[in-house]
């Protein structure tokens, strides 16, 4: 075996290191650019939140600095002088109802599709997930009619009723991924040990699936908070609105935008929801790849 001449070997070693430094720089640079692009509107939101009117509305001022010291007055305004509190309350109320409905319906459905439906079970699971992709913007017009028919127009309960139509498909598919990882032998053992199928499920599958159920709860919550189209269409009066819609439509008095309060409202909701969603994203990915790999 011929060895490389010494000079040749030395050269490739050095350029290798140089290449490595270049690669790392490109990596970090790209990461920074993408991060900035994604986060800049939020940064701007947070900055604006604490600005005084004098500072903000003076076009001569450098907008990136606090020319007047930062103030909490805008948040105070938001909390006390607007319907923001009502929006938050409505949203949470709806979210709790939606979470409950979703969990109660999704857990048995996911179990059935994973354990009891054989081959067509996973196909049906995919079909159910596809329902998630039926856009609200296609359904919201007839849905408005249905809601009006049911007498629920302009009420927050219209949303509590309709939101599960997208949380259920999404979360069923998520839950299916989790349930597939529960060893089926445990259930069979429980049935041999003396429980009916339902008893076995309740005592073995459910306790083991708690992380999955928790993920379903969190995702129902975040999906509820994200929703915009239905609440825009169904509800007109301020007292029944959710945060997404309320902030957009209500924090404008006449033609005047109370920008700082508006931004405060946006940031105060957007960022915590993002944190929550992000934290559970890894579980979502696990569910997604499990689902994708196993069909």
């Amino acid at each position: 075996m011929a060895a490389l001449p010494p000079t040749q070997r030395f050269a490739s070693e050095e350029s290798g290191r140089g290449k490595h430094v270049l690669a790392r720089t490109v990596l970090y640079g790209t990461a920074v650019i993408f991060s900035l692009f994604a986060a800049i509107p939020f940064g701007w939101m947070v900055l604006t939140m604490f600005k005084t009117n004098n500072d903000l509305y003076n076009p001569r001022n450098n907008p990136f600095l606090y020319n007047d010291p930062p103030t909490l007055a805008n948040i105070d305004l938001l909390w006390n002088d607007t319907s923001f509190r009502t929006f938050i309350f409505n949203t949470f109320l709806i979210a709790i109802v939606v979470m409950a409905i979703t969990v109660i319906i999704v857990v048995p459905a996911a179990y059935s599709l994973v354990r009891l439906s054989g081959r067509w079970g996973s196909n049906l699971g995919i079909l159910i997930f596809l329902v998630y992709l039926v856009p609200p913007t296609l359904l919201f017009i007839p849905m408005t009619g249905v809601i009006a028919d049911l007498g629920l127009q302009n009420s927050k309960w219209s949303m509590a009723l309709v939101y599960p139509t997208f949380t259920i498909p999404f979360c069923t598919w998520l839950m299916m991924g989790f349930m597939r990882s529960v060893p089926w032998e445990i259930e069979e053992q429980a049935m041999i040990d003396g429980y009916s199928r339902i008893g076995a499920i309740w005592r073995t599958v459910i306790p083991i699936s708690i992380p999955g159920i928790l993920t379903v709860v969190i995702f129902s919550f975040t999906l509820t908070l994200h929703e915009f189209v239905y609440s825009l269409a169904f509800v007109q009066s301020s007292g029944e609105k959710t945060v997404s819609v309320g902030v957009f439509t209500e924090l404008i008095r006449g033609d005047v935008y109370f920008w700082q309060s508006l931004m405060a409202a946006a940031a105060l909701v957007a960022i915590p929801v993002a944190l929550l969603y992000n934290y559970f994203l890894d579980r979502f990915i696990a569910g997604f790849t499990l689902g994708a790999v196993k069909g």
Binding site: L138, I141, F288
Partner: protein
């Protein structure tokens, strides 16, 4: 040691719920009911509405006198705003998705490597998707304001804006006020929003490439670029298709961006099918026309659904 005798009392009734054949459908029933009643039924209703004369004031279809044939479709189609909306929907979606595919691949590669601050970068990069869309777009709305945009300020400081400068004598760009700028802004925000979703899906695909394959490539002497184009990208193709289909749906059918950013303006130049359906159907009260407008999204959605199902079938056969 003797075992207790077996008893058979009321066997038929007691063990009814043990039967898989009973329990399976039973557990699935509520979910199916919900979907059929609140998704399937409205879907059918959407079609019916489009052929009827329902309004917000009178949303019931009581009899055949409500039906007006293709009148709604004709009215809608001849409307210039609708034509604009149709064109915009297609153009915005295609342009933004081309960018998203390329950028998502780059970003997924970046996020699959290890580096300091990776968790922070991941959080920031995912922000546009993980926050409620209406609120995120509000941030852009403020950032692109006609008077107070910080981008304008920066441009002014750099001499790109203001009297005797590249971008014109005005002190502001009017990002959301000028037609082409507004349209560009909508496309940009769409990219901003769906990039994280596409990236996450691709990232999941990247991490599922078995290590053995990568090791074999390394042993075979393949460098970074060769590995990228000959190994990773081909293996990623099915997942990329999934990512594309997802972001396509979310962009094509989106209402929030055009509504919050520009309210469809200026002069309806950023209307898309969903916002126009909203303006006509809900704000204007003409549910039938709104439904007709929204229905134009259906062909594309069906094509996407077929694409998804084919992908699913292929991954099952693999």
């Amino acid at each position: 040691m003797s075992a207790p005798a077996l008893t058979t009392r009321n066997v038929g009734k007691r063990y009814f719920f043990d039967s898989e054949r009973v329990l399976g459908p039973l557990m699935l029933f509520p979910a199916v009911i919900y979907i059929v009643a609140l998704v399937g039924f409205p879907l059918i209703l959407a079609v019916l509405y489009a052929f009827s004369d329902v309004t917000v004031g009178d949303p019931r279809i009581t009899g055949t006198e409500n039906f007006v044939g293709f009148e709604n479709f004709r009215d809608v189609f001849n409307d210039r705003v609708f034509q604009k909306a149709l064109r915009n929907t297609i153009v915005f979606t295609l342009v933004s998705q081309v960018f998203v595919i390329v950028l998502a691949n780059v970003l997924a590669l970046v996020l699959s490597a290890d580096f300091h601050g990776k968790r922070l970068v991941r959080f920031l990069v995912l922000l546009p998707w993980t926050t409620p869309i209406a609120l995120g777009v509000l941030g852009w709305f403020w950032m692109l304001d006609s008077v107070y945009s910080p981008i304008d300020y920066a441009m002014r400081q750099m001499g790109l804006l203001g009297p005797d400068s590249v971008f014109g004598p005005g002190r502001n760009m009017y990002w959301l006020g000028k037609t082409d700028l507004a349209q560009g802004a909508v496309v940009l925000v769409h990219i901003w929003r769906t990039l994280p979703l596409a990236t996450v899906i691709l990232l999941a695909g990247l991490t599922s490439i078995p290590q053995d394959v990568k090791d074999a490539a390394n042993v075979d002497g393949a460098g970074f670029w060769r590995q990228l184009f000959y190994i990773r990208l081909p293996l990623l193709l099915p997942i990329m298709a999934v990512a594309v289909l997802f972001s396509l749906v979310f962009t094509f059918t989106d209402l929030s961006v055009s509504l919050v950013l520009t309210r469809g303006g200026p002069v309806n130049d950023t209307q898309v099918l969903s916002t126009w359906a909203y303006f006509r159907g809900i704000q204007g009260g003409n549910l039938a026309q709104g439904a007709a407008i929204a229905l134009f999204m259906l062909p594309v959605l069906i094509a996407i659904a077929i694409g998804m199902l084919r992908l699913a079938r292929r991954s099952e056969n693999n």
